[in-house]
Point group: C2
Chain length 183, copies 2
């Protein structure tokens, strides 16, 4: 692999933190920042507690959820996922979300690392897992959740991604990492 032989580590330093919105699931800072080249810049950053996403299979099919996403005004296919509660670790959040949204209880989860959804302006980290040895249990949706469950084969999922039917980033990332692991 090409060795990074260029400039030493560059860092943008916080001069002043300014909270411009303190909300329910997110807050926003507009910080005064010193760039490595000496320039003073503003950085608007959405602060988010993080999320978790799980790939779970039953009878060789992958569990998907379909729900209306207000941000886009459309229904979307996604792998089961959810926000981390304050102080909650991603592993237990993953077990919880899979049970609540899909009605599958995992014996354990295998980590597939994490992904950064949009690194220019949000600090959210989404943790990715594969569920192992799942069994069916009851679902427990949140009051504002309206979610349908589907099962697709891996080939169907890959085609839906290629056809731009699946557009959700965490879903595409986790499917890719899972595929890499089984080659």
């Amino acid at each position: 692999m090409q060795k990074p032989s260029k400039s030493s580590k560059k860092e943008e330093k916080t001069i002043k933190t300014n909270v411009v919105y303190a909300g329910i699931i997110l807050s926003v800072n507009c910080d005064d920042v010193l760039a490595p080249n000496g320039l003073h810049v503003k950085r608007e950053i959405v602060h988010h507690n993080g999320g978790v996403c799980i790939l779970a299979m039953q009878d060789n099919k992958i569990a998907f959820v379909k729900q209306f996403r207000y941000a886009y005004g459309e229904e979307m296919f996604e792998l089961p996922a959810g926000k981390l509660e304050k102080g909650e670790d991603s592993y237990h959040a993953g077990i919880r979300e899979l049970e609540e949204e899909v009605g599958l209880k995992a014996e354990s989860l295998t980590s597939f690392g994490s992904m950064y959804p949009s690194c220019g302006y949000t600090n959210e980290i989404i943790y990715l897992y594969k569920a192992n040895n799942v069994t069916k249990v009851d679902r427990h949706l949140d009051a504002d959740e309206d979610i349908d469950v589907y099962y697709f084969t891996l080939d169907e999922v890959i085609k839906m991604i290629s056809d731009n039917i699946i557009k959700d980033a965490k879903t595409i990332c986790l499917v890719f990492k899972y595929l890499n692991s089984i080659k």
Copy 2:
């Protein structure tokens, strides 16, 4: 493929739009929303103009950029990318960003659809392209950009994704879609 035979399309309807932050690269709404089950809920949505990401190859290696990302306090490897200017279409933004950040001029771009980075709270759409027939030109970075360029083989990139060195969502999504297209 399993036919979606469950409930008809569900939609969350806007009762009232509330702009809680109007910023430089983003704004935030906290809308009053009517959920399909009749519940009144709040939806906090980051409004963003969108982005573009390009996979460009020279001598069989893929062009990457490395830059400090303030949101995470770390330097990250990403495919060349950028924000859409107001009214700018993604195709021309892609040509522009590739020239400015990497110093590669593409004869044309092939679309690989789009991805939604974090569908729970941002409406950003990131358009994905592969560059065709590139030639070297001068770079033109923005005043606040401090970006180094690297070239990696596809195998190196896949390994960096598996090893959680590449965590950037748009990068992972576009690499996956490109891989699917050449199988």
